[in-house]
C-alpha cells in the first residue's frame, strides 16, 4: 500500500503539483432486506481503489482508479495534474490551504461485537422474526425489515508527510409497517425512518430489539388509517428525536457548510442564508436554549472519525452558542477565507470521490431541566410529532416543510388523539427562535443519517445528529388540507 501511495505522491509532485494527497479506500457493505415475509435482498459488496488530489498553480485536479498498481498510480497522478492544469485555465482565486501539522496515526471505531463476524443467517433470522411479529397484526399491506453493515479501511497520505490509517464501522437496522386503504397509505417506522444507524458494532442492532417493537408499531400503522386528519393552524409542537434530528440536519447542518456559503454547491443543492457577515456579528439563529456543536469525536456518531479526508484531526466545533451563530463546518481551503483553521469536515464518499465539506455529528445539546416526557407534561395544548415522513427546504435553507408519520394531541400535559398526515412549515431562524424547551440528557440520543446527498458527481454521506427532543411555539401546522 505504501508503495502505491508514495508512487502517486512522487509522480504528482514531479509533474508539478505544489500539494498532493492520496486516499486508498476499501469498503465492504452487507445489506439484508425482508419484505412481507420474503427475503428480498441479501447482498455483499466490496469496492476498492484510490484517488489522487493535486493542487497545481492554485487549481484543483482529482483522478481515481480501481486498478491498484504502481503503473496505474503513475497514470492517475499524471491525469490529476493534467486536469488541474485544465482547471487553471478558468481560475480567478488560486486556492490557499491553511497550515496544519502533518497527520499521523491510526483510528478504529470502538465496538463490542464485530457485525461482519455475526453469521448472516442469525441476522436474517432476527429480521424474519421482526417481520413475522409485524404481520401478526391484521390489516397491513406490506412490511419491510432491514439490516446494513458497512466497514471502510482508509489510508491517507499527503505530500506534507501525513500518513493515517482508519477503520470505520457503521451499522443500521429498522422495521417498517405499511397500511393501505383507499387513497390512504400510512407508514410507521422504528427506530427512525430508513433505520437507526450508529458507528458501532452489532451490539447496537441488538439494543434496538426490533422484534420487541414490531407489534405496537404495526398496530399504530393500522390505527392511522381511521385516524382523523391532523388539524391545521398556529400551534405548539413538541418534536420527538425521530423528527428533530432531521430538522437539525436540514435547517442547521446544511446551511453551516462553508462551501455552500461560498457558492460551490449553488448549481446543485443551493447556497445558504448564513452568509459570512452573520458570523461574529451576533446573528440570533435560535432562542437562548439553542446550543449546537459539530462534533466528530462524539460516541456512536456516523460523523465520528480520527481525521477528516484531508488529514485534519477530529474536533468539536461550536456552531450556535446560547442561540447566537458562531461557527461553520469548514475545510483547509475555506477556513482561511474567514480567518480560521479548518474544523475538519472534509469527507469523501469512497475512493472515487473528492472530499467535500460534510456534516460530522451536528448535535443539539441537551439542557438540564426537563426530560422529553416532562416537556410533554408541561404542555397545555399542542401536538407531539414523531418519525419523519418527508422533508423539503429552499435553496438557501430558509423555508422548510416537514411531514411526520404520526401526531398525538397534547391536552393538559397528556397525550391523546392520534392524527394522520401531519405537516408543519416555517422559516428556519424564526422556528429556532420559537424554541422554549429542550430535553435533558435522559432523552438525548445519537441518530444517524446514512443518505445525505451532496455534490456532483453525487456523494452519499453518513452523518450523525444527537438530539433530545424540543418544544416550539406558534408554528404553522398544516397547509391547506394538509
Amino acid at each position: 500500500m505504501r508503495e502505491l501511495t508514495q508512487r502517486a505522491l512522487d509522480t504528482a509532485t514531479t509533474q508539478g503539483a505544489g500539494y498532493a494527497d492520496v486516499r486508498v479506500v476499501c469498503r465492504q457493505d452487507e445489506q439484508l432486506t425482508v419484505k412481507s415475509g420474503r427475503v428480498e435482498a441479501v447482498s455483499l459488496g466490496e469496492t476498492e481503489g484510490f484517488g489522487v488530489r493535486v493542487l497545481v498553480d492554485g487549481a484543483w485536479g482529482f483522478a481515481s482508479s480501481s486498478r491498484m498498481d504502481t503503473a496505474e498510480a503513475d497514470r492517475i497522478a499524471a491525469l490529476a495534474v493534467r486536469i488541474a492544469r485544465a482547471s487553471a485555465t478558468a481560475l480567478r482565486r488560486p486556492v490557499r490551504l491553511d497550515d496544519r501539522p502533518p497527520a499521523r496515526g491510526r483510528y478504529e471505531t470502538p465496538l463490542v461485537e464485530d457485525p461482519f463476524a455475526i453469521p448472516i443467517d442469525e441476522k436474517i433470522g432476527m429480521l424474519l422474526d421482526a417481520d413475522a411479529r409485524l404481520n401478526a397484526v391484521e390489516g397491513l399491506a406490506f412490511t419491510e425489515t432491514m439490516y446494513h453493515g458497512q466497514r471502510e479501511w482508509k489510508t491517507f497520505a499527503a505530500s506534507d508527510g501525513s500518513e493515517t490509517e482508519q477503520v470505520i464501522t457503521h451499522v443500521g437496522a429498522g422495521i417498517e409497517a405499511n397500511a393501505v386503504e383507499g387513497d390512504e397509505v400510512q407508514r410507521r417506522t422504528y427506530p427512525d425512518a430508513g433505520g437507526g444507524y450508529q458507528a458501532a458494532g452489532y451490539e447496537f442492532v441488538r439494543s434496538l430489539d426490533l422484534p420487541g417493537h414490531a407489534e405496537a408499531l404495526a398496530s399504530e400503522a393500522v390505527e392511522l388509517l381511521s385516524a382523523p386528519q391532523c388539524p391545521s393552524g398556529r400551534k405548539t409542537i413538541v418534536l420527538d428525536p425521530s423528527q428533530l434530528y432531521l430538522q437539525v440536519h436540514e435547517s442547521c447542518g446544511h446551511p453551516i457548510e462553508l462551501d455552500r456559503v461560498f457558492g460551490t454547491e449553488a448549481s446543485y443543492a443551493g447556497t445558504s442564508f448564513l452568509t459570512t457577515d452573520k458570523l461574529d456579528s451576533g446573528f440570533r439563529y435560535g432562542s437562548d436554549l439553542i446550543d449546537i456543536v459539530a462534533d466528530s469525536t462524539a460516541a456512536g456518531g456516523l460523523g465520528t472519525f480520527g481525521w477528516d479526508d484531508e488529514g485534519v484531526a477530529a474536533q468539536a466545533v461550536p456552531i450556535v452558542k446560547d442561540g447566537i451563530f458562531v461557527g461553520y463546518l469548514s475545510s483547509r481551503e475555506t477556513a482561511p477565507r474567514i480567518g480560521r483553521q479548518s474544523g475538519g469536515a472534509m469527507r469523501a464518499d469512497g475512493w472515487n470521490r473528492i472530499p467535500l465539506i460534510r456534516m460530522t455529528n451536528v448535535n443539539l445539546l441537551p439542557k438540564p431541566g426537563m426530560s422529553l416526557d416532562e416537556i410533554v407534561a408541561d404542555t397545555d395544548d399542542g401536538l407531539f410529532l414523531q418519525s419523519n415522513r418527508s422533508w423539503s427546504i429552499d435553496d438557501r435553507r430558509l423555508n422548510f416543510q416537514f411531514s411526520t408519520e404520526v401526531a398525538r394531541e397534547i391536552k393538559g400535559g397528556k397525550l391523546g388523539q392520534l392524527y394522520r398526515n401531519p405537516t408543519y412549515t416555517g422559516i428556519t431562524y424564526e422556528f429556532w427562535r420559537s424554541c422554549d424547551a429542550v430535553g435533558d440528557e435522559r432523552s438525548y440520543r445519537m441518530l444517524g443519517t446514512p443518505n445525505c446527498g451532496k455534490g456532483e458527481p453525487g456523494q452519499t454521506g453518513h452523518v450523525g445528529h444527537a438530539v433530545s427532543g424540543a418544544r416550539f411555539r406558534d408554528v404553522q401546522v398544516g397547509v391547506g388540507r394538509w
Binding site: 420474503r38 441479501v42 459488496g45 482529482f62 481515481s64 448472516i120 460551490t264 446543485y268 429552499d394
Partner: protein, 452 residues
C-alpha cells in the same frame, strides 16, 4: 439474446457465471458495469472542482433453487472472481426459499437488434480541456451579462454487460454529456439552463450560459407575492419533476402490486393533452437496448391522452402476474422494483411564447427545488420554485417575484394541463433521462413563501 461489443466485459460475465455453476448454482447471472466518468464544476465564474474516475463492478446473482444471493466486487482478477462466487453462494444458502421466485429471465425467441445512438465517439473521447472550454464559454456569457456562472459539465461512458446461465448475453456502450448552469447576480437574482445529450457535439455550453444569464438578468428586483392558487406555465426544467415523481410513485408494477400506486388501467389522471411513454429506442432520449437483467427494453405507453395504460415490469414482478418482463429491471438485489428510466412526454402544438400568452394572470416557473412526497397515492408533492419565477398578466411577463413553496397533487396538475409546448428538451431526472415539453396548467397551489 446475444449482443457483443468485444470489449472484454462480457467475458467477465461469463467467467463469473462459470465459477458460480462450479459452486453449484442452479442459475446464475452476472452484471458488469465499466464506467469512465469525468466532471468539471465551476462556481463564482471559475473552475473549482475537476474529477475523473474509472471503475469496473461485477455483480453476481447466485441462484440455488429458490434461494438467491448477490455479491459484488470491483476486483476483476480470477482470484477475486472466485471469492465473489464463494460469497454469493454462501449468502444464498443460509437463507430461506423465496416461494414466488420465478427464475432468471430467459432469452426471447426473437433476435435482438441493438438500438441506434446509445453512444457517441465525441463523448467517449472527451478531454478535461474540452470540458474546461465549455466552462469558459458559460463563464464568458455570464461575464457579458454582469452575473456569475455556477454549474457542471459531465461526460460519462459506460459499458454494460449482462449474461445469465439461461443464455442471455448482451453488452452495450452508452455515453452521456450533461451541462447544468445557474447564473446568479449580486442581488440574488438567478437563472437556469440545462441540457443532456448522448453526443457532446450536440451540447452548446455557451448558448446555455447565455440562456441562464439572460434569465438571471430578468430576475433582478424580485418582489414578494402572496401564496395561493395560480395558473402556471412550467418550463421543461420543472416538468421533469412531474414525470420523475409519477414514475417513482406509480408507474412501477411493484408499486401497483403493493397497493401504494395511484395507477389503475383505464383511470384518467391527466387531460387529453397528456401522453407519457417510456421509450428506450427514441433517438430524442438516451437509447438503451436492454435492462440490468439483460431483458430487451420494450416501449411502454404509461399514460395515453390522460388515461392510465401500462406500468413497467422486471422479471420478478412479471413472474407474479404470469407475464414477461418489459425490460425495466434494476441491478439485483432490488427491493424497489422496476422503474421507467426513459420517460418521454409527447409534444403538443403550442409555441413557447403562446404558452405564456395564454395566462391571464399567472406564474412562469423555471424549475422546482427539493421536492418530496406529502401523500404518495395522491401524488401530493411539496417543493420550492427556484432560479426564476415571474408574474404574468394579460399574457405578458410583468416582472420577477420571490420564490414560493407549493403543495400540489401532481395528478391534479396533469388533469389541469391546458396547453403543451411543441418543443422538447432532453434532461436528466433522478430516475434517468426525460424528454419533456413545457406545459400550461390552469391552477397550481402555492402554500408558502421565502425571502428571495
Amino acid at each position: 439474446m446475444v449482443i457483443e461489443a468485444r470489449t472484454g466485459v462480457l467475458d467477465l460475465c461469463r467467467r463469473a457465471i462459470q465459477l458460480a455453476e462450479a459452486d453449484g448454482a442452479t442459475q446464475a447471472e452476472a452484471l458488469v458495469q465499466r464506467s469512465d466518468q469525468q466532471l468539471t464544476r465551476f462556481a463564482n465564474s471559475e473552475v473549482h472542482q475537476n474529477v475523473a474516475e474509472v471503475d469496473t463492478t461485477v455483480s453476481l446473482r447466485f441462484v440455488d433453487g429458490k434461494r438467491i444471493g448477490v455479491a459484488s466486487t470491483n476486483r476483476t482478477d480470477d482470484a477475486s472472481l472466485r471469492r465473489l462466487a464463494e460469497s454469493a453462494a454462501r449468502i444464498c444458502r443460509v437463507q430461506p426459499e423465496q416461494p414466488d421466485f420465478g427464475g432468471l429471465p430467459e432469452p426471447g425467441a426473437e433476435p435482438v437488434t441493438a438500438v441506434a445512438g446509445a453512444s457517441s465517439p465525441s463523448t467517449v473521447e472527451a478531454t478535461p480541456e474540452r470540458r474546461a472550454e465549455g466552462a469558459r464559454a458559460a463563464i464568458s456569457a455570464a461575464d457579458a451579462a454582469g452575473v456569475l456562472a455556477y454549474g457542471s459539465y459531465r461526460t460519462v461512458t459506460e459499458h454494460v454487460a449482462v449474461a445469465n446461465s439461461l443464455g442471455i448475453a448482451c453488452e452495450e456502450e452508452r455515453s452521456l454529456g450533461h451541462v447544468v448552469i445557474v447564473a446568479m447576480g449580486p442581488d440574488g437574482e438567478a437563472g437556469y439552463a440545462e441540457a443532456a445529450a448522448v453526443d457532446i457535439d450536440d451540447l452548446d455550453p455557451g448558448a446555455l450560459g447565455r440562456e441562464a444569464a439572460a434569465k438571471a438578468a430578468t430576475s433582478r428586483g424580485a418582489v414578494a407575492i402572496e401564496p395561493g392558487d395560480y395558473p402556471v406555465v412550467l418550463e421543461e426544467y420543472a416538468v421533469v419533476d412531474l414525470l420523475d415523481m409519477l414514475g417513482y410513485l406509480g408507474f412501477s408494477a411493484l408499486a401497483v402490486q403493493e397497493g401504494r400506486s395511484f395507477f389503475e388501467p383505464g383511470k384518467r389522471i391527466g387531460s387529453d393533452l397528456v401522453t407519457i411513454r417510456d421509450d428506450p429506442a427514441d433517438p430524442e432520449g438516451t437509447p438503451a437496448t436492454f435492462d440490468y437483467e439483460g431483458v430487451t427494453k420494450k416501449p411502454i405507453t404509461l399514460v395515453d391522452r390522460g388515461i392510465c395504460r401500462e406500468v413497467v415490469y422486471d422479471a420478478q414482478t412479471a413472474s407474479r402476474e404470469g407475464r414477461r418482463s418489459t425490460g425495466h429491471g434494476l441491478p439485483a438485489p432490488n427491493p424497489w422494483g422496476p422503474f421507467p428510466l426513459n420517460q418521454i412526454m409527447d409534444a403538443g402544438d403550442t409555441p413557447r411564447d403562446a404558452l405564456v400568452e395564454g395566462l391571464e394572470r399567472g406564474l412562469l416557473v423555471t424549475r422546482f427545488h427539493y421536492t418530496n412526497v406529502v401523500h404518495p397515492k395522491l401524488a401530493m408533492i411539496t417543493g420550492m420554485t427556484r432560479d426564476g419565477l415571474f408574474l404574468v398578466e394579460a399574457g405578458r411577463i410583468v416582472g420577477p417575484v420571490r420564490n414560493l413553496r407549493f403543495t400540489q397533487s401532481y395528478l391534479e396538475a396533469l388533469a389541469r394541463v391546458e396547453a403543451v409546448g411543441r418543443d422538447r428538451r432532453l434532461l436528466r431526472g433522478f430516475l434517468g433521462s426525460v424528454v419533456v415539453p413545457a406545459i400550461r396548467i390552469s391552477a397550481f397551489t402555492f402554500t408558502g413563501a421565502t425571502e428571495h
